[in-house]
Symmetry: C2
Subunit: 157 residues, 2 copies
């Protein structure tokens, strides 16, 4: 009878595990909404940052919008937006830092504003990638001015 | 022996169904990134449209950003943005229509521009909800002017 009971429970145990695994994976998985896009140039990024431009600059909306997927450990150089920038995090975990302020951890659902003419950088955490939308408003004032790479010391601080 | 076999397979059948259901739900499930927010007022929406304001208007960014979840069948009234509007669909299926043009189906990953001073409406499909980000640029020109509800005839056309 004992053997029959174990045999009867076997599928329960095996499938129970399969279901749990699926749920666990879904919990930590980063979710893509847009195509992966093009690899950001090595002179502006450390590691792989994939950019999909969603709204090109024009004189009607004066707004540039895009999606960046930062692979784990990837980040932008320090840079300035003459009219500021808004970041909307749609998946994953990463960092944002404004020059002279502590590095902040950013996650799915966070909205970050970087004021005009302020140095900042953003990127993924070491272990989890980051999907972020960027919105650059008032582009008649300029879009971006690239500066130095973020050092490993700055990234890990 | 037949009874033992059936008993042994019971958990397999039951859990097999449970796993399939989870996968099926994940496939069509609309994914929330932001809090559900506040119910849009009945004078501007048909059905339930939940709004989370992500970026409030100010004179630095001149941009209003928010997330709307339209429940299945819910839609905005016809309305105008004096400086236009950009919609980014993050999950689900819905419709967008510019006055005088055919209704277009919109889905996860789509980016829609509505030019300044043009009447439009947007909302969910009858069976699947819609999560959309809205970006209203150049708010110094105005934000929104609400007009008449979208009739069932217009919605179903």
């Amino acid at each position: 009878m004992k053997r029959i009971t174990i045999l009867a429970l076997m599928p329960l145990l095996v499938l129970g595990q399969a279901c749990t695994d699926t749920k666990e994976n879904n919990k930590t998985e980063v979710q893509a909404i847009f195509p992966k896009g093009e690899l950001g140039p090595a002179e502006n990024f450390t590691g792989n940052a994939w950019n999909t431009r969603l709204v090109a600059n024009d004189s009607t909306y004066n707004t540039v919008i895009g999606n960046v997927y930062f692979e784990p450990g990837a980040r932008s150089n320090w840079h300035i937006h003459p009219a500021g920038q808004i970041l909307i995090i749609t998946s994953g975990v990463g960092f944002h830092q404004i020059k002279g302020k502590p590095k902040q951890t950013i996650r799915k659902g966070d909205v970050i504003k970087c004021p005009p003419n302020v140095e900042h950088w953003h990127g993924a955490s070491p272990d989890t990638g980051l999907y972020q939308l960027y919105i650059i408003p008032n582009t008649e004032k300029g879009i971006v001015q690239w500066l130095k790479p973020v050092t490993s010391e700055e990234y890990n601080k």
